[in-house]
């Protein structure tokens, strides 16, 4: 219902989603939006809205459905077949985890592998990142300034008319910088598992970065 609202009515704020989705409780709506973000179907962004006369402009958070990602979910089984053929079963396992959960931290990968009585393969993970099938998650709430008219650095064509919509700007702004996007930092000095267990207190942010699935348009043609 939440996704339907966003698809039919376009970009909405959270109070608008609450109103239009007509779900019984706020908590259910919150959980729905969280799950949609977790599975990369919705992108949130902050934008400054001009208030009425005498009212200061305020920053509001809006949510937009990522239409392409939603459609690509139909192709998940094909992604698995391609990765298995190209990289093998260990990479396929990593991809299964990402497709099932949307986003995972490295720590979660390790614990999940333990539960399946397998060891998490760093090499397989690296190979997926190097092949650009896996990337760091986009920013949770990128801020779009009102006079942001500069086109995004990515060379992808957004629309046939050449005009870029606010939603496309938001999605482009959420993408991490090229230096960070495919960066995997592994601290080989200490035991990774023990670091992962104490990750809540350590400033080691590297293990906390999440990795989401990058949908490559090339996959469609292969």
């Amino acid at each position: 219902k939440v996704c339907e609202c966003l698809l039919r009515k376009g970009t909405l704020t959270f109070p608008e989603i609450l109103r239009y989705s007509e779900l019984p409780s706020r908590k259910v709506t919150v959980n729905c939006v969280l799950v949609l973000i977790q599975h990369n179907c919705v992108q949130a962004f902050a934008i400054e809205r001009q208030g009425a006369i005498g009212v200061k402009p305020r920053i509001i958070t809006q949510y937009t459905a990522i239409f392409e990602n939603i459609l690509h979910r139909l192709r998940f089984s094909k992604f698995l077949v391609i990765v298995k053929e190209e990289f093998g079963e260990e990479c396929e396992e990593i991809l299964i985890a990402l497709l099932q959960h949307g986003r995972l931290t490295l720590e979660q990968f390790i614990f999940r592998a333990k539960e399946f009585n397998k060891e998490f393969s760093w090499e397989s993970f690296d190979s997926l990142v190097n092949a650009r099938y896996v990337e760091r998650c986009p920013l949770s709430e990128p801020f779009l300034s009102p006079c942001d008219e500069t086109p995004p650095t990515k060379k992808r064509k957004f629309s046939l008319t050449g005009e870029i919509t606010e939603e496309q700007l938001a999605i482009a702004a959420a993408i991490p910088s090229e230096a960070e996007r495919f960066l995997v930092i592994i601290d080989t000095k200490t035991d990774v598992t023990s670091e992962a267990l104490t990750k809540e207190n350590t400033p080691n942010v590297k293990l906390e970065e999440k990795f989401s699935l990058l949908v490559s348009l090339d996959l469609e043609h292969s």
Binding site: V28, S77, F111
Partner: protein, 230 residues
């Protein structure tokens, strides 16, 4: 006059829209000259379909499948009932409204409980917008308790793990003890003192030093102790 005009219009329309005469052929239900593809030769599509089904089943029973609990709770009859007719009474006794445990429920597939969403979502401002996570409590769950493998049994997983850990620990202790005994057999009596010190120290071996303060029935030998019952 109008009837005639209407009829005329109808005929004219019928004449303009009609097709040429077509030879009708008998419809063959089972034509023999059709080559059917091999049924077992579609492995790729089968794999794709299998993965689709697996993924869909996983998501349906995952914490990400959000169900409205309010719909599953029994609905109380509305009060006041304006017209207590027999139709109303039947409505109150409807099986959908009142959940009564039935014998047949024993054989129904049990609904798997889903883990809470917060187990798998990292509710931090870097991952989700602030306004969505402000109200929620950020409970830090022990990652080892999460169930990543949906096929593992629900009830006994945690107990099995604890049991296994205990058994591993016992095995380790036994292995250590054996290794130390082997070492002591190789060396001679010089190490007897060490061996005795390596024995597990417990109350049984230290019986002479065991302080039984809680034994009220046997008066202590030491008369200097406080005598509560004079």
């Amino acid at each position: 006059m109008s009837r005639g005009r209407g009829w005329g219009r109808g005929r004219g329309f019928g004449g303009g829209g009609g097709f040429g005469i077509v030879k009708t052929e008998p419809y063959l239900y089972f034509p023999e000259d059709v080559e059917l593809p091999d049924v077992h030769g579609i492995t790729e599509e089968k794999t794709l379909a299998n993965w689709n089904v697996k993924l869909l089943n996983y998501w349906k029973f995952s914490p990400y499948y959000i169900e409205d609990k309010a719909q599953n709770t029994p609905q109380l009859p509305r009060f006041p009932i304006d017209e207590p007719s027999e139709f109303n009474l039947l409505g109150m006794l409807d099986s959908n409204d009142v959940e009564i445990e039935r014998y047949s429920d024993k054989y129904k597939p049990k609904k798997k409980r889903r883990d809470p969403l917060s187990y798998y979502l990292k509710l931090t401002p870097t991952n989700f917008p602030l306004e969505l996570i402000q109200g929620s409590k950020r409970v830090q769950h022990d990652q080892s308790k999460l169930q990543w493998n949906p096929d593992s049994s629900d009830a006994f997983t945690v107990l099995d793990k604890v049991d296994k850990k205990f058994k591993d620990h016992v095995k380790e202790l036994q292995a250590e003890k054996k290794a130390k005994e082997d070492e002591s057999e190789e060396e001679n009596g010089e190490n007897i003192e060490e061996e005795s010190s390596n024995d597990e120290i417990d109350d049984y071996t230290e019986g002479q030093y065991f302080d039984d303060d809680e034994d009220d029935f046997n008066p202590g030998d030491d008369n200097n102790e406080e005598d509560y019952y004079e």
